[in-house]
């Protein structure tokens, strides 16, 4: 009964989404007030229906309803409750339902937090989101219904894949999807601007906070995925350039370009066409990612169970969405004005170079990911493109972006001078070169690539410090330095924090890649291994029973000098239902290093193979990402965007200001 309610709720959501899409947009184009007014309530209704459907599925999981096919394939009565719930998005059908739920939450958010926007604009934005939702409801209802019944019901479920029985499953997909799906808002704003013919700086200002928040979630989602595979898979890697990882990384790169491009468009009303195109492409990459992961076109550990029929449907959805947007773009773009003037060397142009670099990086990842498919489709043989390719190509392409991360914020709008920049950045340049030389010696070994990594990290750090210092010296009011920092506009704080995050990230990657130590040892009870001043003593293995698995648990005592650091318990689990052996590594995380122990196989005479890693600064990789996301959050809370607290008259004035400032076509009020 409950699954049928859920199914019905989805159908209702589809109907509402269609109405939301068609009526709102038609209303905006034809200027019919009553149709325009439907947008917000429709978004709210849609949310209610999708939430209902989701809760019905959740109920089926909690109650172990194995007459629902999806529950039978994903869950098991022995599965702990928290994983029975997160198993909802452990497979294809359920994760699609999570997708549309999050999309409806974003629509709801737009409906609620857009009081300062003109109604016809909101109608268009919500209309586009409604159409996208409708496309996905159709996909779910026709090819991926999570409420399909299994009759006769299974006695018990097939259990969730042991690799997914982990806190990572609880948080990584929701965060990731929030980001992925969030770019639909930027997309919707772009399409709305094209539909209305009003492509101006105001549009950029409205889009920006939504885009930054989506970007923030995607950053967190990707970082969580990386951290999860690091501790879950047992060999300490954190990025594999796997097609599904790339599928999330490409929209991130392009989204980063978009966030920066919106800055130019908002400030200078320039490059509007380019920004709109970026918004379309970023969301298209999100959709492409969805296609790649679920169609079976590429092999990946992450790929969901595949079905060509689904692949065709998503491809059609993807093609329709992207092609109609690009046709709309080609129609409107020629008529859009060019905006303000700026010199060849200015902050605008440097931001655009950043764009070029990020877009090229994104396209390079796309090229590498799809190249095997391209060659195979043309009958030119079968190749593999793996980490050696991506590492070789990605780093050089990103170097200009990292270098300019320092120069860009210091450059003036409209016109900057190279000698002036060089003078102001002398100190930063000096620091990065000096640290690049001495840090490797401090760590013990000098390698050219390592030195370069340090140079980049310190360059960005010194650049942020220089920038903040200059800003602070311009603030002539009395007070402490900290007060002056807090007085900086939030968007500036956000930028500094985000760039700081990049510096930390680069430091983490450089340290771990250059100085990690790995030892594959044969250990009998009492044996020790020393690594970087730490001593690891193997204290044997015992058998342990978990809720739905049996494990061989090793015990390793870690000491440094005379004091005990920690005791680690690496495990080798065999899950009852899927009988898949799984390694649970034991990690001691620290600010400056991780100690990572993985239990291998039993070898002769009671000894075991044990793999021990010393990973310096590895936590900085994800720490850097979270700090980047924090920067995004700060930027979003800038005063400019907290317009929903302003009164209506002020809103009209602010809209007027933006127009005059940008010197653009007047809006009708």
């Amino acid at each position: 009964m409950i699954p049928e309610i859920g199914h019905f709720a989805l159908i209702l959501a589809l109907c509402v989404a269609i109405i939301q899409g068609v009526v709102s947009i038609a209303g905006a184009q034809l200027n019919v007030r009553s149709w325009i007014a439907i947008a917000r309530p429709a978004a709210q209704a849609q949310f209610v229906f999708v939430l209902l459907a989701f809760l019905c599925l959740m109920y089926a999981f909690i109650k172990n309803d194995f007459s629902v096919q999806y529950v039978a394939t994903q869950s098991n009565s022995l599965l702990p409750l928290v994983y029975r719930i997160s198993a909802i998005w452990g497979g294809h059908e359920g994760s699609m339902l999570l997708w549309v739920l999050i999309l409806s939450v974003w629509s709801l958010a737009v409906a609620k937090f857009s009081r300062n926007l003109p109604n016809d604009m909101v109608a268009r934005v919500l209309g586009v989101m409604g159409l996208v939702s409708a496309g996905f409801y159709l996909f779910i209802l026709f090819t991926s219904n999570p409420f399909d019944r299994l009759l006769p019901p299974a006695v018990d479920g097939r259990d969730l894949n042991p690799l997914l029985q982990d806190p990572g499953l609880i948080i990584h997909p929701p965060m990731l999807y929030t980001g992925y799906v969030g770019f639909s808002v930027a997309f919707a704003f772009a399409i709305a601007a094209l539909l209305s013919g009003r492509l101006d700086a105001a549009w950029a200002r409205w889009s920006r906070p939504w885009t930054t928040v989506a970007w923030m979630f995607l950053t967190i989602g990707i970082a969580l995925g990386s951290a999860w595979s690091y501790y879950e898979l047992g060999w300490g890697g954190w990025w594999f350039w796997d097609p599904v990882e790339n599928a999330s990384f490409m929209p991130w790169l392009m989204g980063t370009a978009l966030v920066h491009s919106l800055a130019v468009t908002e400030k200078r009303a320039s490059f509007k066409n380019w920004t709109v195109l970026l918004a379309i492409f970023t969301f298209s990459l999100s959709l492409l990612g969805t296609f790649l992961v679920r169609s079976g076109v590429l092999t990946s550990v992450h790929a969901f169970a595949t079905d060509p029929k689904r692949g065709v449907f998503i491809l059609m959805l993807l093609a329709f969405t992207v092609c109609t947007s690009l046709i709309l773009f080609a129609w409107r773009a020629p008529k859009v004005g060019l905006g303000g003037k700026f010199q060849l060397f200015s902050r605008e142009s440097l931001l655009l170079v950043n764009n070029v670099t990020l877009v090229v990086a994104s396209l390079s990842v796309l090229l590498g990911t799809l190249y095997p498919l391209l060659l195979d489709a043309m009958g030119l043989g079968k190749i593999s493109v793996g980490p050696p390719y991506f590492d070789a190509v990605f780093l050089p392409v990103m170097v200009p972006a990292v270098f300019l991360m320092v120069v860009g914020p210091m450059a003036r709008w409209k016109q900057a001078s190279i000698p002036d920049m060089a003078q102001r950045l002398k100190w930063a340049g000096g620091i990065s070169v000096v640290m690049a030389i001495i840090t490797p010696f401090v760590m013990g070994e000098w390698k050219p690539l390592t030195s370069f990594g340090f140079a980049m990290s310190f360059w960005v750090l010194a650049g942020v410090i220089t920038f903040v210092y200059e800003r602070l010296s311009k603030d002539k009011k009395p007070g402490s330095a900290w007060r002056k920092v807090l007085a900086l506009p939030r968007s500036i704080q956000g930028m500094c924090v985000a760039h700081l995050g990049v510096s930390i990230f680069i430091m983490g990657v450089t340290m771990v890649t250059s100085y990690e130590i790995e030892k594959d040892m044969r250990m009998e009870v009492g044996d020790t291994v020393t690594m970087a001043d730490y001593t690891f003593r193997f204290d044997g293995v015992s058998t342990v029973k978990g809720p739905n698995y049996t494990a061989q648990r090793g015990q390793v005592l870690v000491t440094k000098g005379n004091s005990v650091v920690t005791t680690l318990f690496p495990e080798k689990r065999v899950y009852t239902v899927q009988t898949m052996p799984m390694t649970e590594a034991a990690i001691d995380t620290g600010l400056t290093r991780d100690l990572y122990v993985s239990l291998g196989e039993p070898v002769s005479q009671g000894a075991w193979s044990v793999r021990i890693y010393y990973k310096p600064f590895v936590a900085w990789i994800w720490g850097g990402c979270f700090i980047m996301a924090l920067g995004g959050l700060l930027a979003t809370t800038d005063r400019r965007y907290r317009l929903f607290v302003r009164k209506p008259q002020e809103q009209e004035k602010s809209a007027g200001e933006t127009e005059t400032a940008g010197k653009l076509a007047t809006e009708e009020k």
Partner: protein, 193 residues
């Protein structure tokens, strides 16, 4: 105006490739041995461990080398087909018993029937590696000159046999030297590349 349509064209071209990709199998590894001489081997015979069997013994004949093992579940799918092929004398089938204990292999054949003229024991799997075997079952179609003309990856199906393997076998039997152009044309009917 036209330059604004460039993104659209690029996307459409990409879309065509992705559509084609839906009909391909990314996991299938095509053999680099097609139209190349079969790697030489000399292994013990399963039925007479004191004597050996070599691919060179088969020169002048068109034959199938079927890689299998008693622990291979998928091999059971194609086994009835192999039995019926042997009974009808369609094409001589020789087995490469891959990473298997001879006793287990013999027991399996006793239980399920033996379609093989002879079986070579590749206990260590070295010959398998030389032939680029990555999963069992796999079947190689070898011509009179000892050149591999086709490889079937996975269990052999009756449709594959009818539409792909037998036409090539019959063509190869007609002449002393294989007519590569004709064989290439015939291989287009095959599902494996």
């Amino acid at each position: 105006m036209v330059r604004y349509l460039i993104p659209l064209f690029v996307v459409l071209i990409l879309g065509v490739f992705l559509y084609r990709g839906l009909h391909l199998d990314p996991r299938e590894v095509p053999s680099p041995f097609i139209n190349k001489p079969a790697p030489d081997f000399s292994l013990q015979r399963l039925h007479d461990m004191k004597s050996t069997f070599s691919n060179k013994d088969m020169l002048g004949k068109v034959w199938l080398l079927n890689v299998w093992a008693s622990w291979c579940v998928a091999c059971r799918e194609e086994h009835p087909l192999l039995i019926s092929m042997a009974r009808k004398n369609m094409v001589p089938i020789y087995g490469l018993n891959y990473k298997d204990a001879p006793r287990d292999a013999q027991g399996w054949l006793d239980q399920h029937g033996d379609p093989y003229v002879e079986n070579a024991v590749d206990y260590k799997g070295d010959v398998g590696i030389n032939y680029g075997v990555y999963g069992v079952p796999e079947t190689f179609l070898i011509d009179k000159q000892g050149v591999i003309r086709h490889k079937v990856i996975g269990p052999l199906t009756s449709s594959e046999l009818k539409n792909c393997v037998m036409p090539i076998v019959n063509e190869l039997n007609k002449t002393e030297q294989a007519n590569v152009a004709v064989i290439t044309e015939l291989r287009k009917q095959c599902s494996s590349t």
